[in-house]
Amino acid sequence: MISLTINGQSIQAEPGVSVLQAARQNGIQIPTLCDHPNLTPYGGCRLCVVEVKGLRVPMASCTLPVSQGMVVETETPGLRQSRQVILSLLFSERNHFCPFCQVSGTAVTSDCELQQAAYHQDMTHWPMQPQWNNYAVDTTHPYFILDNNRCILCRRCVRACAEMSGNFTLGVEERGAASVVVADANLPLGQSSCISCGSCVQVCPTGALIERSSAYQGSQSQLTVTQSVCAGCSVGCGINVMTRDGHLVRIEGDWNAPVNHGVLCKQGRFKPAHEQRQRLTTPMIKVDGELRPVSWDEALDAAAARLKGVECAALISPRLPVETLYAFKRLFKDGLHSHNVVSLGGEDAGAEYAAHASLPLEGRLDMLSHADCVLAVGTDLTNTHEVAGFMVKRNLQRGVKLIVIAPQESDFANLAHYVLRPGAGSVADVLDALSCAARGEGSAGGEGFAEGEEAAETLTALLRSTGLEADLVQAAAQALAQAAAPVIVYESDLYASPDVAASLVRLAEQVGALDAGRKGLLSLKGSANSLAAAQLGLDGSLVTNGSKAVYLALGDDELPEYLVRRLQAAPCLVVQAAYASSLTASADVVLPSAIWAEQSGAYLNLEGRLQQANAALPVPAGVSENTAVLQSLAQRLQVALDGDWRAELAVRPSLVTLTLN
């Protein structure tokens, strides 16, 4: 530990921390602007200047490491004057006229860190007037606006783009006062490589980056913040849902969330506030080929009558909370003994494979952040599960090797050092070829492939069947074999083929991904609660043939077109859904249900972490919460839904270690 004195207070700090961090850890506040706790210190704004005994000039505390015996002052009259000059210079650079800015407010309501800093320094006016330079406002992005006139060049957005999502879209063009934040080589944001993760908007200290949908809807102090979990995919990012008077204003990443540490993708941050689908607000029954609004009692009676004593199939969205999945399973599987009770895409969670694998094989998501070599099999992490992709992308600059096995081109494959495109051969052959080649690289362990000449023959045969270049496979295998912490991330549907699954595990063993307690495998497991659905046994594929009725608990999810057509062909269709669609239009009974933000419940993410989503919005009039719909239905069908879902989640073997508390 290092001892130093700040404002006469003796404090201890870890070696390597900055004076700013040491001060904060001891409750001493130093004003900052460019600093952000989740980003690398930059030392750009100089607002955090401090006086250090023995040093000639004030120093930026955010980039100044603590040293033994340092004597620091943070609030001298000289520093106060320096800060006023720094702020005056900032205000004089651009258009910082507050009254019509989205983030402006009083000391209580202001969301602008520049304005707050001025209030904090008792600035009643600008000693220097602005330069009147005008910058074009970029409104080409669908979700947010970039206004360089409001920018203070703190580069938080540039750092967030690189360090949080690893996208490197934002940068700074020109020098000095002429510097402007640009996307790519000064492209309009809407045409740039931006992937709309929105991290830049969340970290912007001023009104330079503002969200379209939430602009002028109220300051942070006027919003209600509900901590919750994104139901967009199985990563399970922590989110803060900001609402006002029962309306969704915006969603921000939760900096304290263990999974994502504040970063989100567009699905989690922007899509919900831009929802265009029509909400269902009343139960309906089809009479003479036409849907008629009815009371909840009539609709539930009608649904019960159609399901009672007939062979029915039941399909549920795995975006719904565990409580709803469990009620669904109790009602249809245990109560009505329906022959086919499944979740949408539920076969993707690998539960079948888990039943006879030696378990658990898979580790935690943060392995991706700490891996030195990542092999992605069949996944495009720039398209789905994007936040898991960010964990890989943002480390590529640090020398992390990325190998992609995928038949199609993708943005993710474009980032890879080695892309292995299986030609005619199967994915299993590519994996086996890597195993064989890795064995030649001298990586320890691994059974199943002979050594010496026989191995060379096997590899030659595999290369022939996959059509891959020997050098490419060898180089990729070398990267994997030499990695200290390799991780293999893959689509769970690979488990559907036992060959591929066996080859995956063999490769993982060969390159040391499963050495000494490491669990360097990770499958994506589809949707937000696909793993929970699989643990509850809702993981078969949908069979509608022979069913007299089909029950669909869709929540706010959407079905692929081929399933819509199959369900429309069912003799009787009961749909529990939040939004109107061609499917609800052709249903016999429609039960309007809540969306994700209107219900609380548990979500089990792809690494087996059970997280709590909290209702942020009221359920609209005429609509019912998803579990409540199933309960009312169960009552009419005399089925009891009670039971311990937590215990039942743990019964089935799983590929990951479940943490259910």
């Binding site: 258009n95 006229f97 009254p99 009083t106 009643t124």
Partner: protein, 180 residues
């Protein structure tokens, strides 16, 4: 001892700061008990006394020769000059035309305006004041008290006037300091 005298005027603003002043409600009477309101845009007397006033208050920025005259007149006739509101303090909304220039602002307002009948004409009467860059009050004359806000909260104005009426210099800080 005679009561201190207060005079006010407005320049390139929207009169909103004076509305906020009126929004003090019954506190106006308290202040009227402490000080004499002389010339203001909302009283009969239109120009500050030639013999001088103790407190001069100006709302709005300076965007032409007429405003400049008002600012200099008030400065020369008052002891303490108060810049009231964001326009007087910073230039405010009128100053935004500085980013595009007066010509473009005039064209947009008089010719390209949606409400225009297509025969727009930029006023050019020789009796009109000459336009200039929009400036904050302190760029034209020295200012003693800055009261930012768009408009300043009536509580803040009440505090400032109560202090000045009793011969004290107000300190606009903490919860009284707001720029919007």
């Amino acid at each position: 001892m005679p009561k201190p005298t207060i005079s006010s005027d407005w320049m390139a603003g929207c009169a909103g700061c004076h509305m906020s002043l009126l929004d003090m409600d019954e506190r106006l009477l308290e202040i009227a008990g402490l000080a004499d309101f002389r010339a203001t845009p909302i009283t009969d007397l239109k120009e500050p006394d030639k013999t001088g006033v103790d407190v001069g208050i100006l709302e709005g920025g300076i965007n032409n020769s007429s405003n400049e005259e008002v600012a200099h007149r008030m400065r020369s006739r008052c002891t303490v000059l108060v810049a009231l509101g964001d326009c007087a303090v910073f230039g405010g909304v009128p100053a935004l035309r500085n980013f595009c220039g007066a010509d473009e602002a005039l064209r947009r307002a008089y010719i390209e305006a949606e409400s225009n009948d297509g025969e727009g004409k930029i006023p050019s009467d020789p009796e009109l004041a000459t336009m200039s860059t929009v400036r904050a009050l302190h760029e034209v004359v020295p200012v003693d008290v800055f009261v930012p806000g768009c408009p300043p909260d009536p509580d803040v104005i009440a505090y400032v006037l109560t202090e000045l009426a009793q011969g004290r210099m107000p300190e606009v800080k903490d919860e009284r300091l707001h720029w919007n």
